[in-house]
């Protein structure tokens, strides 16, 4: 469907980006993205995906908005206290861009329900607050063959990866399993700007993939982007395929 005059204006700055054009905008409008977790990472990811004109967002979060969330979870505002994050997020997105269709689920994704919940989405943004869910979504997206943006944050630091099953090494290629004894944000805090950066990286990776800017690297490696707000080092580590990883069966080339 050709863009309306309003859409040409709303998305003018997208369309003007070299390599984008109206074709990229149409790809965004046709895309369905699941965002799992609507907190610190999910807030910027949802904002930028909605503003960019992604056609449909699946909004998953089991929690309600609490006062201690608001210094970083910018999708939600003070009047939303006590309301489900999924509902609050959908309303915020509707105000920003009513063209985006949203599906809300006040649901914690687990082994039993994740495959069904994510079926029908083109790409997944992992924005949960725990390692177990991050590794679960990694494994589920490998099984479903869906690209996954995954990230983590704590205090002043964070990291992000974009995984394309069979083309880019997975989370377990970088870190084989859930590490024990790592503090959580309820123990060591987190500054809102940190998930602001990492959630924005997730949105950017997803948009690159939707519009076709994303390309696998010739050597088959992936990237782990890290941000350290204490030293202000931004870094990209090279992730290689781990031959014993569960993603190895998906590799088409050695």
């Amino acid at each position: 469907m050709p863009l309306s005059d309003d859409q040409k204006l709303r998305y003018q700055r997208n369309i003007l980006i070299p390599g984008f054009g109206e074709e990229a905008q149409a790809k965004l409008a046709a895309a369905r993205v699941a965002i799992v977790g609507l907190g610190g990472l999910g807030s910027p990811a949802a904002f930028y995906l909605a503003a960019a004109g992604v056609g449909e967002l699946g909004l998953f979060d089991p929690d309600i908005v609490e006062l201690s969330n608001l210094q970083r979870q910018v999708l939600h505002a003070t009047p939303d206290l006590g309301r489900p994050k999924a509902v609050s997020a959908a309303e915020t997105i509707a105000r920003l861009n009513p063209e985006v269709r949203t599906t809300t689920a006040q649901l914690r994704l687990a082994e039993a329900n994740a495959r069904e919940a994510l079926d029908g989405y083109d790409v997944v943004v992992e924005a949960t607050d725990n390692f177990a869910a991050k590794f679960l979504l990694n494994d589920v997206c490998l099984d479903l063959g869906k690209p996954l943006a995954v990230a983590g944050i704590l205090s002043l630091s964070g990291q992000a990866q974009f995984i394309v099953p069979g083309a880019v090494p997975c989370l377990r290629c970088a870190v084989a399993d859930v590490p024990e004894g790592v503090p959580t944000t309820s123990e060591e805090g987190v500054l809102g700007a940190v998930p602001g950066i990492l959630g924005s990286i997730e949105a950017l990776e997803v948009i690159r993939w939707i519009v076709g800017l994303w390309r696998p690297r010739a050597d088959g490696t992936g990237a782990l982007h890290s941000v350290d707000g204490e030293t202000m080092r931004l870094n990209t580590l090279r992730v290689r395929r781990r031959p014993t990883c569960r993603c190895a069966r998906l590799w088409s080339t050695p």
Partner: protein, 66 residues
């Protein structure tokens, strides 16, 4: 010997392993991603991976909040 850790040159003991380096820096080995000369070291290999003079290391704390 000299190695570069997160862009800073450091003098370390000859033959130091990744595992003992992390311990000396008070970093939890299982929650630290180690890139050595542009390749991430498998966690299981930390105790047997010996650093050599001139190595470039990036140490990133792997975190799980959201």
């Amino acid at each position: 010997m000299k190695v570069v850790i997160n862009s800073e040159e450091r003098d370390v003991q000859d033959g130091l392993t990744v595992q003992t380096l992390l311990e000396s820096l008070k970093l939890r080995p299982e929650a630290t991603v180690v890139e050595r000369n542009q390749a991430i070291v498998d966690r299981a290999d930390y105790p047997t991976t010996r650093l050599t003079d001139g190595d470039t290391l990036e140490l990133v704390r792997f975190v799980g909040g959201g």
